[in-house]
Point group: C5
Chain length 373, copies 5
């Protein structure tokens, strides 16, 4: 592989540890709604339900969706993609969403947080999922991608905004459709809890995949440490760091939700949030274990690689060490002294050859006995 | 050993650092009772006692067990195995257990915690024990296994659920049978304390075994560092990490129990809980010491192994270094110059041999004196 | 490169990790206003605005600027350069600024902090920017420079003092000129918020540049580790440490501003400050990730460099190892024994040469198969 | 040294890092008084004093000792050895000591703590002292031994229990006998303070000895790193870890004593306890410094040892490198070409020898100049 | 350098990391005033001033000094040297100083702290300064020395006690003499603030010198790593640890002074103490940066040294590797086969020599191209 290609290959294999800045227009006044260039335009869907009734519409306009809000039902507006600023301007106007919160929704690299505004709660989370690695360059393991999920929780409505390409809330929708558990009886705060729960539960398959990779790397580090192991380990570390940045704030986030003195979250939902908190902590502890393990595996890798290399050197050196004395013996009988009586003896040559054999065998035996070969 | 077998061997020898996810049905609404496939069906036993009377029944149906609850006695229902969802549905119905708590019981990889519900306290702990290693693959040290123990504490009943295959509460049962200490006089909270105490006390034999392994590895690291030492050290680290995940939350757990403003725990039992807290802290400190020691032992291992390898190289190099000048001398007298007067002298050959001997002896002496050989 | 030049080159390439002391006159009583020698004399500009009116004057005298304060408008005095102590004496007199605060302004290496005085708030921040590296010596990446920005916030005025050579508040001025958002309606506390926001947002391009450098160093560490990589890594670490000293206190700073019970900051502005807090935290988390990555990259560098060097040694040793047995064979037939029958055979010479070729080929094959060459 | 003996030697030289479990009867109900097998039977002594009067009796029965309690004097019962359970049963009965506290006294591996019971305070501390190393096996430095000291503090009595073989409170007894300071005027809480003070002050000679060992190991690591240095360093680390487990809880212990709202400790004694707190903190900080130093010394050891080994290899390689070209020259003139005119020249042989000498001298000079030899 | 001298040299070059114990008379009752043997006898000076009047006397007896206390003026008694216990006994008597505080003054290795007694505040600090290294042994950098400074603050007097040989408060005295700032108007608490400020400001030149040393060591580590670099680094680490033990407690110390609810410190002085707090924090942050840098520099040192050594080995090995094949070729034509036709060809010898030259040139070129030489 030549230099340039190797560089490109490495860049892909290592993953993308580069942080993205949260604000892209330095100097612009806060509260301006300008979507990221590359963002998909929003796809709006709406669910509106009471205990007995359920209306569901996909791919509607934002105004159609907003028409369902109110009227005694719980309304859930889900927006898939943050590329269309008008949708959010309209939302802000109708539901009284704070401009700073809306700006955070469009800035898709935000840190998870809960913020209480006058008329609504605003929650930012990071959804984590595994995506197949870019085919052309790095044939490595699936990449960890994190995408922003934003929630606005009002008195009888919930707005969710997903940056991601894949819809993550199918399970929640199914639960509403089949009226599982308390989903249809409780208010929008219970719905928000279900969404939070889905986000947190999505950490575990990712953690599991990372743990699987860690185990493979650990075995490779002991059994056959190569440069690929090192690159894989570095990439895993990047993934763990990225994941931690996503998961870590979830802990305080859920705590804030449980403690915040707001009428928007009922006491009953707070009991359920305790469960989410619990899972977030568990995800964090697994993450920390993995991070500690990664340090240990790095040590093992370094040790084993050193050992392998030294092992090779040892064998090579043993070979030289066996032949050097033999060559010395031979060179003695290559000397041109006039009086070397043994040179004339007919048995001398085979005797010397035999002696050489003995010396070689002795050395080999000695080296084997000491475990050097 | 070939590649595949070696991989399998390693996987076994390293232990199972892979975390298990707490929820197995992503998307399913919380509160659904679905036991893990591989779980054993529950075996129910019940003890019901007052100061003067004691009834004990093993292997009864859950309804028979529930019949003992109430009627002025303290009842302890112990369920061994979490494979039968109906048992827990029935329990929840009769004793008013919260669905989220019941779900946590069935999800057998939960983080230790205490949760207060309206009618009962719910406690999850992780019981730790040593199990003989899987015979076929890794002939290594016994494995550390942790199993979930759940407690429901009500006004006059205690329900314990054990995931594990081995019954861990025989000591507690004996104490009740012989009415040792305050066991028969106090309420179910004292019984819960005894169970907690048994769980925490079970950490010490495991810690002791790990410390024993650590000491052996440390001695091996200094005396004879091999690849097995490294694998053993990695496995020990996995075990320590797993143990910490089990023990760490116990600390806050007991603190919560002591502080929680609930009528279910009497002031007297709180004094006893202080003792359990104390033991948990002590277990944690031992654990931390072991973790620090493991880092130091790794360093020692790396250092000693490096030293051994370099030592071998040194000896080999010394051998070569002794023979190379000798060979040079011999090669001088192997030159074919017409006028090399010493070649004709009869004593030249033995003289050169003697000189070679002197050179060799000189070098060996010099190397020995500098401690290089 | 000779020794002296190399030393100078290194000093430049490593960056300037040396801390500067905050007070330069040991023994002098606190509260004395003595500017640093090398500081630029101050350039004063003033903006005074209400919702409907805007006056702006650049390069005025401090007395002219102070004439705009009061009279129902919000006044912003910006002083560029801290070399002229009279400006600050005059400011202190007219606006009642505390001598200790003024002294801190002139001491341009202060730690970020917020201090509440009777009549005003005093805020110190560190503005961070990238400056092209010193051309003559180190052709390396742009340097991270941090400069002090001080704020005095009064009831209807804001004084900002910049140490730096480049004006950092053009964006804020533009926002005032075009009356963007709430800039012209709100009081001086909103203006202070905009300045804080500009300072915090300026961290992200710098972090981005450092992350870019980190990625390049990581790739270099794996693909081609050289001494330059090491020096670059050390320099990056110096930059990260310096940046952390600047960013870390911002967190508590904004918290203090949000919590401080002062009439100078309105409730509305506190909501906006939450946004600044958020960005500061995010900057810190990125910084910590970079620091952890720098440790990992160092490990990778050390490992790869070791591997490279050992790889070279291995190849060299393999070459010697192939030739040493061959030389031994040759030296056998260089022996001068009288009875070495094979010497006389016409085919012996080519046979021996062939045998040597076979031995060499066998060794090379063996080494190749084991991956040693 | 052969394998077995070496193992045993190592085990002794490394110290005893193995933790001891706090409870030895798993399953037994808490509150049972069963002394450790190996414990010495208790030796009871009693001091009873007022400002003017002093009674002192050594080696009395526990009942005789208890007869002195009360009657307007301050009584101090000291029990040396925890092997006799009846003593403690009797004490508990007469002075109302809590069974859990008594159990902790007999379990001689307890973590330091302060517990408030209804009628008394219970304090566990770990006394630290240096004991000469086991003569037969490891001729190393004195061992750090920690022994349990328990205190019961009542309204007019103090009971101290020492596990240790050496009496540690002679200084306190002397102070009482000579009525030094406030010892005879103040109550039993002042006496308890003196005991605490004696325990904490005993840490400093041990820390000093460890610091001395650290300094010796650091010098050895730089001047002459051997395997003994490594073993010594490991042992020092074990000692530091053990010491920290003993000292660390002392800090909170004294804090609790100062803050605890109990009539048993007077305000005046609390002032004195601040002094003990201070010393405990100082001991901890020294300990932490030593721990950090131990990490640095390990690094130095690894570096120096590597350097030494590489240095040896370098010299050996230099020797070979000088002779290999010389041998090549000689082997050229050992070739049997028919037409090698220089072979016939009478001056050729000395000329070649001279040339060889020049080459050798040149190489040696070159290597010396570059600092390789 | 021989062994003994080298050991002594090392001990000096490494600095004195050994901690000194705070109490030197184990067993003695607290509150006994016994000065350290080596301490200088105290030199007493006194300043007594009001806004308009100033009296100053140096080298007076303690009783003369005490005569100035009271009478409406602020009195500052400075005692230089702690060797004379009578001075302190007298002070304690007249000003009501607590025996424990006085004992701490004489014990010159105390941890910085603030203690509030009934009639006065007691403050211990550690003054840090650079002293030229001991000439005879280690020609190294100046040593960091820390000396104890104790303060007693009463209603109208301040007593300062300096252990050190050099007077550190000249600046403060000058400020009083010239009535700079508020020094003559404010009370003894402002005076105490000036003393604290002088102590904290004295950290910065020391930190600056250490940073300078760190930079030199870093450059040495990259450009020319030798054993001296390692020893220098170790010494710097000892200095940093010692400095941290001195600076770290200052932070809480100033916080306590600011918060402590005592009439001895006025609200105005508390504002000034905030400034001292700030500087203490800044000193700590610089210290932490230096500590992190020291770890990085150690890594760089290890890496560079390894690289240098390996580089030497590489060159040596390259030399051998070039000559070994040449020697093989020569040894071929040294074989004594009867039928080696090329031996007879007149051009054979120069041809072989030429071939050898080609082989050597080819190898050198190849090695150069791969950067191995």
């Amino acid at each position: 592989m030549n230099g340039k290609r190797r560089q490109r290959h490495l860049r892909a294999a290592l993953g993308h540890p580069r942080p993205r800045a949260p604000r892209i227009r330095p100097g612009a006044p806060p509260g301006t709604l300008a979507p990221t260039e590359s963002a998909r335009p929003g796809r709006v869907s709406v669910m509106s339900f009471t205990r007995s009734r359920l209306e569901e519409h996909a791919a509607v306009s934002i105004d159609e969706a907003l028409d369902h809000v109110g009227a005694g039902a719980v309304s859930w507006i889900d927006i898939d993609g943050v590329g269309d600023a008008r949708i959010f301007a309209r939302l802000g106007e109708r539901l009284g969403l704070h401009p700073l919160a809306l700006e955070d929704v469009l800035t898709v690299v935000h840190r998870p947080k809960v913020e209480r505004y006058e008329k609504h709660l605003f929650i930012v989370m990071r959804m984590v999922r595994l995506a197949p690695a870019d085919a052309g360059l790095a044939p490595g393991p699936p990449e960890v991608r994190d995408e922003q999920v934003s929630l606005f929780l009002g008195p009888d409505w919930l707005v969710t905004v997903q940056e991601g390409t894949a819809d993550a809330f199918d399970g929640v929708r199914e639960a509403i459709r089949h009226a599982r558990g308390r989903t249809r009886e409780a208010g929008p705060d219970h719905l928000a809890y279900l969404v939070l729960d889905a986000v947190v539960d999505a950490y575990f398959p990712v953690l599991d995949a990372l743990a699987e990779r860690m185990q493979e790397l650990e075995e490779a580090a002991i059994a056959a440490p190569t440069e690929e192991t090192l690159v894989g380990l570095q990439r895993l570390r990047h993934d763990l760091l990225a994941l931690r940045r996503a998961v870590w704030p979830m802990r305080e986030e859920v705590t804030v939700l449980q403690r915040e003195d707001t009428p928007l979250v009922t006491a009953e939902t707070r009991v359920f949030l305790r469960d989410v908190y619990d899972h977030a902590i568990q995800a964090l502890e697994l993450l920390e274990s993995l991070r500690e393990t990664s340090v240990a595996v790095m040590e093992v890798y370094l040790s084993m690689q050193n050992q392998r290399l030294n092992g090779v050197m040892k064998v090579l050196t043993v070979i030289s060490t066996v032949f050097i004395p033999l060559t010395f013996i031979a060179s003695i009988y290559g000397m041109n002294f006039a009086y070397m009586p043994e040179l004339r003896h007919p048995a001398a040559y085979p005797a010397v050859l035999g002696f050489m054999g003995l010396v070689a065998a002795g050395m080999v035996l000695y080296f084997k006995r000491r475990g050097w070969w």
